[in-house]
């Protein structure tokens, strides 16, 4: 491997700009990091070059650990978006700069310089000054200058970003050809999909500091694992269907594709070979729903269902027809389908139709001309089920200060976790409600996977119950005060299958989390859901178990074994974790630990539901929340079914 990145992490002011990025790049590979601005892709490149320090992780170039080496000794060629040429030196001097420093003999230097000038297509321009060249030519000089030192790896930071469209395409071709000629391992950073697809042997998609997926361009386009990548690359039709045994039910269509496997029995989470099986299991939602992707070019249109050649998906109305050169883009509107929830293209608030994007070649257009308003049968040639269902957050707000704090923290978490988010306003009337929801929308702003804003006049528990019926949530976030918050929290937590985050005051994104593994009954779920959330946020965790003074050695051993298992699971997820066993009364001990350790999130498990399905928060949770807590508190629902085989069930009862 030419380039190995291990768990790279970098924080600025508490926020992870690069969050646990691991990557291996083969010899001679052209790797492209794709992401929107602020996704952390340039920071990763700067880390490899040694221009940015790293907080955690390791970088190997051709087996050499360069993590602590200065830029000068890393032997990397770097090309900047703005060329960064030495303006006071001629083109030839620019190219020879690195060679001179490496004490290359003059004759060899001249020969290599001339070869490079030929390679980048600037023969005869060696005597020019940079400012006498066009932007494209300057970037060619910068490329030659970076290659002049025969670098181990070539790093390109948006090298075509500052150029005109036409020059960009031209230089893109040259870049690809030069890289293949020299066979130098390359990382290119870009926000331009077309560029990424054309240049990349493999592609990595970054968002909010995390490397979401890595794969060959065609693979990522056709078979993405995450919603973000599905919708970020190209145009996506993304619908949520239901798992039905060995197939997926998407409205009228039964897709003979097995639901992405996450049955507990098939997994061996205790000895995971890689992080993905555990990650999959952790992302298992309470209800087996699945996101199904199909691309516009996989949509077939016909006048009658028999002519589709695939099972009909429904009859829709043509809403929009756009001519785009070789292709025709259509947007179709289908009536609501039972059990199907559309994600992309987005549906306007209050509309329950399903929209489908289609793309046809001109030959098909001539065969079946379509105008807006016409009705047509829709079939889908090829489906892909996403492995990760993604997280769903529900933010509750009544405009109170603690609700504002909950909105802010919830929005931040949603951004980092790529969660689909719904804001539900309650207990506000008329204009005040409108104004508040508008503010909430602005506060949450950009960067959210999806944001819906709704309001309700019903009692909150009922409203949450209705929301959860429509679509199960992973996490409900609300403001909390000790005075009357607990009863409300108790009703909300049983209004669905969700976990609950209680926020009392404004705070930063949690970085240091205390997981009380003994407060709820099974305990394991607390660890797993918290870990799943922290993986996105880039926080570290401490697992704490509180024993009675009277507990015997066996109990203590079990507790320690349980904590060790939890720490391992968290670390597999990329969450740095440690454990602590304390003796004493549960809630005072945890409260003391919380205050002393500088923690900013407390995770508690809710007790198991009783036989009527009721959950009571009275007990440890009540004791912990009897005074308004200093930091946010996450209540994790304990389900009866542990995902962790027999060994865990044994350790679970501490």
């Amino acid at each position: 491997m030419s380039i190995v990145l291990e768990h790279l992490t970098k924080r600025y002011g508490g926020h992870p700009v690069v969050n646990d990025v691991s990557l291996e790049i083969a010899d001679g590979e052209f790797f492209v990091l794709l992401g929107s601005s602020g996704s952390g892709k340039t920071t990763v490149l700067n880390m490899v070059a040694g221009l940015t320090g790293i907080d955690r992780g390791r970088i190997l170039l051709h087996g050499r650990d360069v993590t602590d080496l200065p830029t000068q000794e890393r032997r990397v060629g770097f090309v900047f978006q703005n060329y960064a040429l030495f303006q006071h030196m001629s083109v030839a001097d620019n190219i020879e700069f690195g060679m001179t420093l490496r004490k290359m003999p003059a004759a060899e230097r001249r020969r290599w310089r001339d070869e490079l000038l030929e390679l980048v297509g600037l023969v005869g321009l060696g005597k020019r000054m940079p400012r006498q060249l066009s932007g494209g030519q300057q970037q060619r000089v910068a490329l030659a200058r970076a290659l002049a030192i025969k670098p181990d790896v070539l790093l390109l930071d948006e090298p075509l970003g500052a150029l005109d469209a036409k020059i960009r395409i031209e230089l893109r071709r040259s870049l690809s050809a030069i890289q293949r000629t020299l066979g130098v391992s390359t990382i290119l950073v870009t926000h331009d999909q077309e560029e990424a697809f054309e240049l990349a042997d493999r592609l990595g998609v970054m968002s909010f500091g995390r490397l979401l997926e890595v794969g060959q361009p065609a693979d990522l386009y056709q078979r993405p694992a995450t919603e973000f990548v599905a919708t970020f690359l190209g145009t996506a039709n993304l619908l949520v269907g239901r798992c039905a045994g060995e197939s997926i039910q998407l409205g009228p269509v039964r897709i003979p594709v097995a639901c992405p496997a996450r049955a507990p029995s098939e997994q061996a989470p205790h000895t995971p070979p890689s992080r993905s099986p555990v990650a999959n299991e952790l992302d298992a939602p309470a209800v087996q729903r699945v996101q199904v992707l199909f691309r516009p070019e996989d949509v077939v249109l016909a006048r009658d269902p028999a002519a589709l050649a695939v099972p009909p998906f429904g009859q829709g109305e043509v809403v929009q027809v756009v001519f785009s050169g070789a292709y025709q883009r259509l947007r179709l509107r289908l009536p609501p389908l039972a059990g199907v929830r559309p994600i992309a293209p987005p549906v306007a608030f209050g509309d329950d139709a399903v929209f489908v994007e289609a793309l046809r070649q001109q030959a098909d257009v001539e065969f079946l001309p379509l105008q807006p308003g016409e009705r047509v049968w829709v079939g889908i040639r090829h489906f892909h089920a996403l492995e990760h269902p993604g997280l769903n957050f529900l933010l509750l707000t009544d405009g109170s200060p603690q609700a504002q704090a909950a909105l802010a923290l919830g929005g931040q978490l949603a951004r980092l976790a790529h969660a689909r988010t719904v804001v539900l306003g309650y207990d506000l009337q008329g204009e005040a409600m409108q104004r508040h929801l508008q503010q909430a929308k602005e506060l949450l702003g950009s960067g959210l996977a999806a944001l819906d804003v709704r309001m309700t006049a019903e009692p909150l528990a009922q409203a949450v119950h209705d929301e959860a019926e429509r679509q199960p949530y992973d996490l409900v976030i609300m403001g909390f005060t000790a005075t009357n918050g607990l009863d409300l929290a108790e009703t909300i937590v049983q209004a669905g299958e969700h976990n609950l985050l209680l926020v009392s005051r404004p705070q930063e994104t949690p970085m240091n989390v205390l997981i009380a593994a003994t407060s709820g009954e099974p305990g394991k779920d607390d660890v797993l859901f918290a870990g799943r959330l922290m993986r996105h946020v880039g926080a570290s965790a401490t697992l704490i178990s509180v024993l009675d003074h009277g507990d015997d050695a066996v109990t203590r051993q079990r507790a320690e074994r349980f904590l060790a298992g939890g720490v391992r699971s968290l670390e597999i997820l990329g969450v740095p974790a440690r454990s602590a066993v304390r003796s004493g009364q549960v809630s005072p001990t945890i409260a003391k630990e919380l205050a002393a350790g500088g923690y900013d999130l407390l995770v508690l498990g809710t007790p198991l539901a009783d036989l009527d399905g009721r959950i009571s928060l009275h007990g440890v949770v009540e004791q912990m929340l009897s005074q308004t807590p200093a930091c946010a508190t996450l209540l994790v629902r304990s389900t009866k079914h542990s995902h962790f085989g027999p060994t865990v069930v044994e350790t679970v009862r501490i």
Binding site: A49, T71, Q72, F78, F80, A84, L85, F97, A146
Partner: protein, 286 residues
């Protein structure tokens, strides 16, 4: 042609008739320049050259005058060397580093322009005077006499010209892209090589023009020096102080001659600065 167009054409023609306004403006600006600047200059030159070039030269090369001129040039040269190095350093620190009180320091740089130079002299005498603790210690321990000697003159000049190099280098340094230095580092250049071969070259022109300006300013400095150095012929008397002495003793020709010499020096420096500036602008344009 529509009526309105015709009217407009007519109007502009009328305006072209006798452009009083434009000529009036030029004449007043130029005569003001002549009255305030050129005529006094010419008078001094005429006076200095009243006995021919040879007379001027022999007046300038009189031992006392010559010593004063040489002292001026020598102290200014020392000042320029120190100022160039330290001014660049100050500008670099102000641009590249963040530290508490940075904006205050940035504002302080211009302070010497606002302080009357006489006051500058007084401050230095209070600090370095032979009766003062620091001045006495310097003389006792290092044998270094500051007041009434060249070190005092250099100190006064350094104080007075502090802003020139800093303010010349600072904007250029600000506009320099850090990625150019990063590029050099990735090519294997160490910090000193980066500074010498990448950062410094674009600074050379502004640096030179800042240095020349401070030299031109120093050559004519009077207020601070008369306080700090006094008026001891052949020892601490600079050219400007010498001119003042000649005026006081009603030797007009002596005053004019050395004045002409000072002006020629200052004028050629300013000319050089102008040349550098226009070259820089030319570079920016291409």
């Amino acid at each position: 042609m529509s009526q309105r167009q015709a009217q407009r054409a007519d109007k502009s023609q009328r305006r072209q008739g006798v452009p009083w306004g434009r000529w009036g403006l030029r004449v007043s600006a130029l005569s003001y320049l002549a009255l305030i600047l050129i005529i006094p200059l010419l008078v001094v030159f005429q006076d200095g050259l009243s006995e021919g070039l040879r007379g001027l030269w022999s007046e300038i090369t009189r031992p006392v005058a010559w010593a004063a001129l040489m002292l001026t040039l020598r102290t200014s040269a020392v000042m320029v060397i120190i100022n160039t190095v330290m001014g660049t350093l100050t500008a670099y620190v102000l641009v590249r580093y963040e530290f508490p009180g940075k904006s205050l320091l940035n504002a302080l740089v211009d302070l010497p322009l606002a302080i009357p130079t006489l006051v500058t002299g007084v401050m230095l005498v209070i600090l370095y005077g032979p009766q003062e603790p620091l001045g006495a210690w310097l003389e006792r321990a290092l044998g270094l006499r500051v007041i009434f000697a060249s070190p005092g003159i250099v100190l006064a000049l350094l104080f007075v010209t502090f802003p020139f190099v800093v303010r010349a280098v600072q904007p250029v340094l600000l506009s320099l892209d850090r990625s150019v230095e990063d590029a050099a580092a990735s090519l294997g250049a160490g910090p000193w090589t980066i500074f010498r071969r990448v950062t410094l070259p674009p600074l050379l022109l502004p640096l030179t023009s800042g240095a020349l300006l401070s030299f031109a300013r120093a050559v004519g400095e009077f207020g601070a020096i008369i306080v700090v150095a006094g008026n001891i012929p052949l020892r601490s008397q600079t050219a400007a102080v010498y001119v003042w002495g000649e005026v006081e003793s009603e030797n007009r020709f002596g005053a004019s001659a050395v004045s002409v010499a000072l002006m020629v020096i200052a004028f050629s420096l300013i000319l050089a600065v102008d040349l550098i500036q226009s070259r820089r602008q030319g570079e920016d344009r291409t």
